[in-house]
Assembly symmetry: C2
Homo-oligomer: 205 residues x 2
Amino acid sequence: MANAPPPLSPRKTPRQARSKATVHAILEAAARILETQGADAVTTNAVADRAGVSVGSLYQYFPSKEAIFAELIRQMRAQMRDDIFRAMDFVVGKSLSFAMARLVRAVIHHHVHRAHRADALEHLEAQLPPDPDSLAMMSQTRARLALCLTQHDVPQPEQAAEDVLNLIIGMAHPALHDGETDFDSLARRIDPAVLGYLGANVTVS
Amino acid sequence: MANAPPPLSPRKTPRQARSKATVHAILEAAARILETQGADAVTTNAVADRAGVSVGSLYQYFPSKEAIFAELIRQMRAQMRDDIFRAMDFVVGKSLSFAMARLVRAVIHHHVHRAHRADALEHLEAQLPPDPDSLAMMSQTRARLALCLTQHDVPQPEQAAEDVLNLIIGMAHPALHDGETDFDSLARRIDPAVLGYLGANVTVS
DNA sequence: CCAAAATGTGAGCAATGGCTCATGTTCAAC
DNA sequence: GTTGAACATGAGCCATTGCTCACATTTTGG
């Protein structure tokens, strides 16, 4: 009857240094296979093999293959959140256009840094059941941006924060994916789009 | 030695009305399973079952499961291209802002119409080997938009066409996916972003 | 009508891959 | 040392699934 769906959170927390290394190796191996060979190549056997551990060990820490993906996605979302937090902290008190320029470059940098990994992970995320932790991190990211926009008197800052993030990612992601290497040119093309969006709502102060 | 990779094009063209119906039923079944249950649920047996045909028939017309996906993607790209062609034809001689507004609404309409299907297909496309036909259709789409931009003296129209499409899709797609239902509000938020982008390159004439 | 071509069937093969479990090894605490 | 918990192993179970093939049925052309 009560046939609970398998959880996506790690199965057991490692206590010794040895097992921490195991968990790290598993995640790293999964990520590398994902980047280089695509999602279908990420089999539990392949991951364990590449991590230099046995499948049994893998299943001591992750209840399912999907739990590994969920953890990788969590890490990516956390990094993006932190990147954007840093960018927003840096521009406190600066002009809106300066703040947005910084945001644009933070997002581009984030995508460049983890290009293939982030790419594949985002596709995976769409196919997995939504993870509360990941959702929370994205929510925090938007909230921090909304705070910045509020301080510049942008109306409906939550809506604007979401739109602006989608706009930047939507432009940067395909461009970088298609091999765009002139990051500066890309940033300078995104800037006016962001300001154009905000310009409809704010008179530049 | 010469172990050719399985082609993604249909295996045999149906000649009789009966088999045309079979092919159509297979594609429709695959699309419906994809929409409702996700990519992993699309097995050849499930598709044949839902289409009301046998697996054998399926493999008479598609050399592999991926060929079915490739065909669905081709259909989606063709429809998007045609939608945008129609929109661009309609705005010949009109102002740039009018043209862009029309484009924005065409893209939104396209995504609304085939919401879940287009969503899943685009994710699949990233995992499949690139299909020449699909690439050609996207190229034609960009070219048509670039022509429109050229007629409004937008510099670097090819680059701009790509950016504008990415911008519109990038904003519309996540919003619609998150259940946004006020399409008019969405369109009116995208408009200024597009004009902002173009505004950096053109003085409004 | 009748062959030949086109179309359709579905049991089942072969391969894959998620995951378990019986067993062995290392570590920490006393 | 000893003991129990934590950690690791990997052969292999079992379910799934892409796909084939030997055979049946329908359609077409003459």
